[in-house]
Symmetry: none
Subunit: 556 residues, 2 copies
């Protein structure tokens, strides 16, 4: 069945707010460097607008914009987010926009109130003053040569309560120069038919009134998932005329989350024929979903549509043979289109080309016919089954490949360690100390060192440095930049497996390693030693600068 | 704005398949007794049809029907599920229905193929034989005096591929005596507009052709969440004329899950005015969601719409005071309608009224004028600044308040601990061991114990149990259900602070505690001891049931 009313060839503009609205989810806390990494990954994916945060409201957000000026995005527009001015035209009201202007971006997103209830109850001001706030703020930004996206907060509730006033806020934003009007379902309570009907009315009204003005504003949608319909709401708005979708990776966001771009994008592009991304970009979607979940340190949702590990999983029996005869019998899309894969008989061929492709990124050329390639693949699968994850630990992956190719240099070997953590509590004070002893062989010498640290992992780090520093003087430059712990099978309580990711830096490059063990100290030690090893490998390569090395710098 | 095209007063029939389709989710494994408990809870909730399983296909399912004959449901219809007969009219083909008949129910659900591709590829038979299979099977069940619900598998794909053949399967089922025809989106790939359009076409075609037949079949919808639109798909079908919704509690199901009844029901009833449940039943929804997640042993999704712990969570500031003035400003429905509650997130912005309101929920009455209240607030802010997070650790919060009010019972005190983690690596193997020693004072006795564990935290858990068990025999029931680690300021590497959250259960109630330290072992130990303490507090309260305790039971 064709679906004429839904077919369209118009491209949809993708606006990601993972770094602002997504980070509002309870439990997410991102460093500036985390945000930089996510922004660059979204840029590669082909997202058109990336909302970085609210400069001025949060010092970390100022730092992010500064960091992204030093390491600019290649395609995407980075956008700061801010509010209209406060009610009552305070003196020096333009000052609140200084941090936003300092972000030095082409575009700015500004949000204002659409709902009369909110103007009166939350802002405690008059309906007229709210219009003045919208007009003044947008006009000011336009005078500063910013292009403006206007987020109409609580749009759908506002329009249902008082359509004339709600429309007046949009007209005000248009007259002041906003190029995009984004209809926000801030409380997430509106259902798809209402979203569709109201969006259509807005598009029609604006179209019929637009002849006189210069700007031709376009409409966007910003949906929340409180009714479990954020994805359907976004699609309904697009089918009614919206041309921008705001959402987050994995649907992160406060309360029940935002519209999940990982589902919105494939639905729009593969099912409704609205182009969003290039095919090769869409095929990165599963990897991007995993990457972001690693960085925000939340377990990936295996049951997530399109990108989850179970999204194309098939159980045995007739079902599987039917899938093998004709995958369309049980799969709504070919999983490779979103970079996912059918899971039962994991196509060894597909897995193999992944490994080859990865190795190539490190400048290691593997031959598909070489049995070593198959050995590597088998080992990777086995390790992944044990809980390893190389998505965010590419240094560990490179060491693994080098191991098989006998290209892994031998800087030191570990014979063992012991860590003691001790707490002594008295009435007046409680002190915790950690001490670690490590035994390594370096350049044929057995070295035994001990050191203290505030925690067991720092104690290990310190004693390993002590053991190696006489042999490898460059090691002082090596710093631990990030340390993340994830409990796998967390339902098993304290006996569950632990995965540790550590990020290192030598001041110029960054790299990450992974360790897995049912013992958190064991997992940490594994990631730690691989991180030191990789640092030494980089140092060794410095003497022979290679294209491989240069490429790595570009990535980091 | 009223929404005339969507308004309807027709009651919707709710069909739950948590016990069959829901249990297909990877990782769910239910005993017969688990299933009996879930069935009775769904019966209380007011679900109309409860699908118990496929008798004959699985011996556990036979046992379930037997168990439910001994402990029958009070209102709901229990339904067995089965397939049409096999192709080729095998001899004694009716035998496969014997276990279904033995279930001794009034209704039976039978599924058949609607999609020509599937008839040929999966069944490897002719289109005509598939119609005969549908007719024979339903006629046989009717002769055995069963009322029949017919699940049209792969309906939407089948109808789009070959509408005439798909309609022929429905006509066959009607002629054979099926009373309900359930349109299944088995692969979950169809989007709401298509679901709505096709359902409408089916309803119209059947209505115009029904004059001659005796039965007046009604239409149902069975949606899967592969496009993240299962809830919207179910609503679209109802708005197009479907009168039954099949789904599962919490949306459990294979791949990406089934339509989530916890979202479908409130959307239908509260937003689209289709009556489903009595008001008092709907108010059990949050409790039922938690109950089922306990039984299937999956952590509840805090971000679940309507029933999640964060669904009506608000962070501090102006936002909270606006919510307190008028909840409709930031809440799409009153949370009490689904048995949930507003949650003012205790966070760094926490104000005095937040703290008082929380304390009140634990049955602790605090006076705003009492200086103790301000001391508690100051302490909460200070701890949050140090990295504590009480959002997900309400047991620790309650202990803190009790401490200030001198209502914190004294079960034991910790004098100190020592943990040793040791790894020894040889050419052939690498072993890691952990051992913990703890020293506590219990009932004026100093106790020193040691224990081993796969990791340092398990070793601590074990030695603490050893120290306490002679004094508090109930402790065996206490289990660690979840253990989470987050590194704060992770940029500081291994010397960063660590926050540990531990969730405990005593089989009936769950509670969570938090520990923060720059030493991961210290943070774990702190959360561990508070968890034990809170468990003992719950046990102590059992002997003196109090309103506080009763309230907690209702919540859990």
């Amino acid at each position: 069945m064709a679906h004429p009313p839904f077919l369209s060839q118009e491209a949809i503009c993708l606006y990601d707010t993972t770094l602002r609205d997504g980070a509002q989810r309870e439990g997410i806390s991102l460093s500036v460097q985390d945000k930089v990494r996510i922004a660059h990954r979204l840029d590669q994916l082909g997202i058109h607008f990336i909302e970085g945060g609210w400069p001025g409201a949060n010092p970390k957000d100022d730092d992010l914009f500064a960091a992204l000026r030093r390491q600019p995005l290649s395609q995407a527009q980075l956008v700061p987010f801010c509010s209209t001015r406060r009610p009552g035209t305070p003196a020096n009201w333009t000052e609140m926009f200084q941090p936003v202007l300092a972000a030095n971006t082409q575009w700015v997103t500004i949000f204002g109130k659409s709902w009369d209830l909110h103007v009166r109850q939350a802002l405690q001001t008059s309906l007229g003053e709210n219009l003045a706030m919208i007009a003044d703020s947008i006009r000011f930004l336009k005078r500063q040569e910013r292009r403006v996206i206007y987020d109409a907060e609580h749009w759908f509730d506002g329009y249902q309560a008082n359509p004339d006033y709600a429309m007046a806020t949009l007209h005000t934003a248009i007259a002041a120069g906003a190029e995009w009007l984004v209809l926000c379902d801030t409380n997430g309570g509106t259902l798809p038919p209402h979203i569709g009907a109201i969006t259509k009315q807005v598009c029609q009204q604006l179209l019929s009134e637009q002849s006189g003005t210069i700007t031709q504003p376009r409409i966007g949608i910003h949906a929340h998932n409180d009714s479990e319909t954020a994805v359907a709401n976004s699609l309904a708005a697009v089918q009614a005329g919206a041309q921008m979708v705001q959402g987050t990776i994995n649907g992160y966001g406060e309360r029940c989350g935002n519209a999940n771009l990982c589902s919105v994008i494939p639905n729009l592009q593969l099912k409704l024929q609205y182009p969003c991304l290039q095919e090769s970009q869409l095929a990165q979607l599963t990897a991007v979903s995993k990457f972001v979940s690693e960085i925000v340190n939340l377990a990936p949702d295996d049951h997530a549509p399109f990108v989850g590990a179970s999204a194309f999983a098939h159980k045995g029996g007739i079902h599987v043979s039917a899938v093998q005869r004709d995958a369309t019998t049980y799969e709504h899309i070919p999983p490779s289109q979103v970079g996912n894969q059918q899971r039962i008989v994991i196509s060894e061929q597909a897995g193999l080309s992944n490994v080859l492709e990865k190795a190539q990124r490190y400048g290691i050329v593997l031959d598909k016919q070489d049995p070593t390639s198959r050995h590597i693949l088998r080992q990777v699968k086995q390790l992944e089954h044990q809980g390893y994850q190389f998505e965010a630990a590419e240094a560990s992956f490179e060491l693994l490949i080098r191991q098989f190719l006998q290209q892994r240099p031998h800087f030191f070997s570990v014979l063992g360690f012991e860590v003691v953590a001790r707490q002594h509590q008295t009435v007046t004070e409680c002190s915790t100390t950690s001490m670690a002893t490590v035994k390594v062989v370096v350049q044929d010498q057995e070295v035994l060192t001990a050191a203290e640290g505030v925690g067991p992992v720092e104690a290990l780090d310190q004693s390993l440095r002590k053991a190696l520093r006489n042999f490898y003087p460059g090691l002082e430059a090596l710093k631990l930049k990030d340390y993340k712990v994830r409990i796998l099978d967390s339902e098993r309580g304290t006996s569950a497996k632990t995965r540790v990711l550590i990020e290192f830096s030598n001041g110029q490059q960054r790299w990450s390693t992974v360790g897995v063990s049912s013992n958190i100290i064991g997992a940490s030690y594994q990631a730690l030693t691989e991180g030191f090893e990789y640092g030494l490998l980089l140092k060794q390569q410095e003497s022979w600068p290679s294209p491989n090395h240069l490429e790595r710098e570009l990535i980091n």
